[in-house]
């Protein structure tokens, strides 16, 4: 799965996610990627989110809109994504199951995962490009 979140000079937030799904999935299987609030979410003034991982778990937990609820309730975006990753890990008891990228309406970035590999990057008018492949990089 691949994804992107962005904020433009007018403050509009957008998100996109795209995937081939799981290897050896049954034909017709769909995970979280195309579901609003699960694999993707964007709301001006709040946050843009893109998710990756085991789609069945992310879909059931509606991970992306959970991040938005937390940001809306005043949590900073870094904490919001960490909390959602922690909740999914605890609820389903599965490491290596989710990665989240998020951007709030001030352009602050949130990155969180329970995976060993988390392929990611960012660029802004002030910084970057920065890229990393392993979660601990």
């Amino acid at each position: 799965t691949v994804g992107a979140v962005a904020i433009d000079k007018e403050g509009n937030l957008s998100a996109a996610t795209s995937t081939g799904g799981l290897w050896l999935k049954l034909p017709g299987r769909v995970g979280d990627t195309p579901l609003p609030g699960a694999g993707v979410y964007a709301e001006n003034g709040v946050v843009a989110v893109s998710a990756t991982g085991i789609g069945e778990l992310i879909a059931r937990y509606l991970a992306s809109v959970k991040v938005a609820f937390k940001v809306k309730s005043g949590l900073i975006v870094e904490k919001a994504v960490e909390e959602v990753v922690g909740e999914i890990t605890k609820l389903f008891g599965q490491e290596n199951s989710i990665g989240l990228i998020a951007l709030d309406s001030h352009g602050r970035i949130g990155l969180a995962t329970n995976c060993e590999v988390f392929i990611r990057g960012f660029i802004s008018t002030e910084k970057g490009p920065m890229i990393a492949l392993l979660a601990n990089e």
Binding site: V2, D8, S18, I119, F122
Partner: protein, 175 residues
């Protein structure tokens, strides 16, 4: 006036040795996606930026999307994608797309050219064909080799992503 920021991901999961062999190509893909996306961000909207960045990663063939999409049980590529614009919560998504590798652009077309938010399967493929999106080629040798390797693991009941599929999956194969 907001600062312009673009963040991307190329997937997450368990560490595999092949990551080291593919590292350079993945890093090149990420840099290219950031470059294409930021160029679009400077000249257009955040929606253009996320579409261009994801399209670049779909085109690479090295990540699990677009040309590099994982193969399903029958060795086919079925792609899912979505886009969302925060200004008015506009949304477009596609699923089980075979016709084109560029699923994210098709998702944006659903958002902008139809009254729907989600098209799947043959309907999504028909729209891709009508709108002239780039047809998907055959999966790469790298993907086909991985498929054979995994089918063998399934045969040895050594496939961690399956908890129940073993029973139903065998009915998908005549022998």
């Amino acid at each position: 006036m907001s600062k312009e920021v673009l963040v991307i991901h190329g997937g997450a999961g368990r560490y595999r040795q092949s990551l080291q062999e593919e590292r350079k190509e993945i890093e090149k893909t990420l840099r290219g996606a950031l470059e294409d996306g930021f160029k679009a961000l400077k000249s257009g909207s955040s929606l253009d930026a996320v579409e261009e960045a994801v399209k670049a990663m779909e085109a690479s063939g090295i990540l699990n999307a677009g040309k590099g999409a994982a193969l399903n049980l029958l060795g086919e590529q079925e792609r899912d994608a979505s886009v969302m614009f925060g200004k008015n919560l506009s949304f477009g998504a596609v699923a089980s797309v075979k016709y084109t590798w560029n699923a994210v652009t098709l998702a944006r077309r659903v958002m902008e050219k139809t009254d729907h938010v989600f098209l799947v399967g043959s309907g999504a493929d028909k729209l891709a064909e009508i709108l002239g999106l780039d047809p998907a080629g055959k999966p790469s040798n790298r993907l086909q080799e991985r498929y054979v390797e995994l089918i063998k693991m399934v045969g040895e009941k050594d496939y961690e992503l399956w908890r129940k599929n073993f029973e139903v999956a065998k009915h998908f194969f005549s022998d």
